[in-house]
């Protein structure tokens, strides 16, 4: 990636962030829920109409839309994403505390997924059209149609309720509590990846250099591991980048099921309780992380694929 491309990508990130911030702010502005009312009912008081208006005035919620928006953006640029109404703590602190558990969960489930998908995909490609291939393809097909929250619930039923191997509530965030949530995510993802690995390996297997190597008497397994496998990794990296990005946001369902203390769980409770600053902060952070990861993935091509370096 040239310097010019890199700069334009970074500019693009900024533009998207501005757009996303505007969209989420607009949505919270026009939404029917009133954060002040939520705040009061949450603390157990029955507020009078005057009290509500007074607090709204104090918090600047009665100001015109653009005044509010620019004030918020200005604060964000200074690192102040506001305070959560619900938890009465700075949004940044809350998000930062939840980031690592979710990241941990994401990485662990990607690793688990690769352990399942890579061998299955390769087996399926090597033994194309045999019963192994049909079995793997059948399973992956069913796997794509499985709702991940259902998988999570079933795993929970088996491993937490029937045989009490893991805790039902994973709120501690330690390794034991990560096993089932990441297994759920890994199962949900592995079908897609197994197919991808299969396609990539099949494509490499049919290329001329493989035929050439085999004709020269190189052992098949050697070609498979040292030539075919590394070459079929490339398309996988793009997908991995996208998956990690969307996992950071998409773990919410699984986090809620297992009461895992991650970003998604926090976001869901923020949305339920109309905690606007927290929602806005969350959406912005996820967008930023997602785009930075995608950029890093594109940059990684430079190291993985020598052709990209030559193009320079």
């Amino acid at each position: 990636m040239s310097k010019k491309q890199l700069i334009s990508r970074m500019l693009q990130i900024v533009v998207v962030l501005i757009g996303i911030s505007f969209l989420t702010f607009l949505l919270t502005y026009v939404s029917p829920g009133d954060p002040v009312r939520h705040m009061m009912t949450a603390s157990g008081t029955m507020p009078t109409e005057e009290a509500i208006q007074e607090i709204r005035q104090e918090m600047g919620l009665n100001d015109p839309f653009f005044t509010q928006y620019f004030r918020w953006v200005g604060n964000c640029l200074h690192g102040d994403f506001g305070n959560s109404y619900m938890l009465n703590k700075p949004v940044v602190t809350l998000l930062a505390a939840r980031l690592w558990p979710t990241l941990k969960l994401t990485i662990f489930s990607v690793v688990l997924m690769l352990i399942m998908a890579v061998p299955l995909g390769m087996l399926s490609a090597v033994y194309k059209d045999s019963w192994i291939d049909y079995l793997v393809r059948g399973i992956t097909f069913l796997g794509i149609s499985l709702p991940n929250f259902w998988v999570g619930l079933l795993l929970m039923l088996v491993f937490c309720v029937k045989i009490t191997l893991f805790p039902v509530i994973s709120s501690s965030g330690d390794f034991r509590s990560m096993v089932l949530p990441s297994l759920t995510l890994a199962i949900a993802m592995s079908s897609k990846y197994t197919r991808q690995v299969r396609t990539a390996v099949l494509e490499e297997l049919s290329s001329d250099y493989v035929t050439g190597a085999l004709a020269r008497g190189v052992k098949f397994w050697k070609v498979l591991w040292f030539n075919v496998f590394p070459n079929s990794l490339l398309p996988l990296i793009t997908m991995l980048g996208l998956s990690i990005g969307s996992l950071l946001g998409g773990t919410s369902v699984v986090e809620v099921i297992f009461s895992y203390p991650g970003l998604g769980n926090l976001a869901v409770s923020a949305i339920t309780s109309c905690d606007y600053y927290l929602i806005q902060g969350y959406v912005l952070w996820i967008a930023l992380i997602y785009m930075v990861i995608n950029l890093l993935v594109d940059l990684s091509y430079y190291f993985v694929d020598p052709r990209m370096r030559l193009k320079g």
């Binding site: 149609s145 969307s246 869901v268 949305i271 995608n294």
Partner: protein, 276 residues
């Protein structure tokens, strides 16, 4: 008649899953008949949390409502909402994509930058935020998912239009005085349609999953309406004592999604002989 028989025999996947899909749709339409006239929202507390048995083949929930009737009625919500999402993103994406690809310039830039913005963002997060902020309802969940899905269709339609935009026969049609609307309708639309239909058909299943996920989190269907995602979420608390509460709705989602995914794949094989 002979020709039709051959078509169905030749495309076995499509035929089998087409029939299954029609069965599911019929079950949804004639839910009152299929569920034996049981009201899915009427509970009888004296029969709460009954295991599957002769009276209630899928058991009952905490309100004493019949799970079987709820699963059957749930097909209505799930099917109508997913078809609505797909139809919505199909139409919006198709129109915006064709317009962007055909006119180019500033129109293209504005539409595609908005689309890029939506794509450069994990969809479920935005859908969650939108559905949550607008308030929980099936309609809002549909709008939220549609909002994050249309760019995919717009991009696809645009790229298909761009491919033929400057072909000689297109230029010739313009030079000979074809009106703009006629150009869009007769030249651009037919070119983009087949690929988009395939995409839409294969997307129905994943739309169902997303919708169920939103309902599961409490940002879609609201109680007491029978919706599969919502039923799963309600059944969660009774996992230990009444696992049937979450087994049957989940199974319903799974089976329906499998059928529609297979149908989509079958349709793709028919319309697009290039794949496989």
């Amino acid at each position: 008649m002979m020709k039709k028989e051959n078509f169905f025999l030749k495309n076995k996947t499509f035929t089998i899953f087409g029939v299954l899909a029609i069965l599911i749709i019929l079950a949804a339409i004639f839910a009152p008949v299929v569920s034996g006239g049981v009201d899915p929202t009427a509970g009888d507390l004296s029969q709460a949390i009954e295991p599957p048995g002769p009276g209630h083949i899928f058991g009952t929930d905490k309100m004493g409502r019949d799970i079987y009737a709820r699963v059957i009625y749930g097909a209505r919500t799930s099917l109508v909402a997913s078809f609505a999402i797909v139809a919505l993103v199909f139409v919006v994406g198709l129109i915006l994509g064709i317009v962007a690809g055909y006119f180019g310039g500033i129109v293209d830039i504005v539409i595609m930058r908005i689309a890029d913005m939506m794509i450069a963002f994990p969809g479920l997060v935005l859908a969650l935020a939108v559905a949550g902020i607008m308030g929980a309802s099936v309609r809002n969940a549909v709008l939220a998912i549609a909002l994050v899905t249309w760019p995919k269709y717009a991009r696809l339609a645009r790229s298909l239009v761009m491919k033929i935009r400057h072909r000689d026969y297109v230029d010739a049609a313009i030079v000979t005085g074809s009106k703009t609307f006629y150009m869009l309708y007769r030249y651009m639309l037919p070119n983009a349609l087949p690929t988009l239909v395939i995409t839409a058909a294969t997307d129905i299943g994943s739309m169902m999953l997303e919708l169920a996920a939103l309902s599961f989190l409490g940002f879609g269907a609201v109680p007491p309406s029978p919706e599969w995602g919502l039923m799963l979420s309600e059944g969660r608390a009774y996992m230990q004592s009444a696992p049937w509460l979450m087994v049957f709705p989940g199974l319903a989602i799974f089976v329906t999604v499998v059928v529609f995914n297979m149908l989509g794949d079958g349709l793709r094989d028919i319309l697009d002989p290039k794949t496989e």
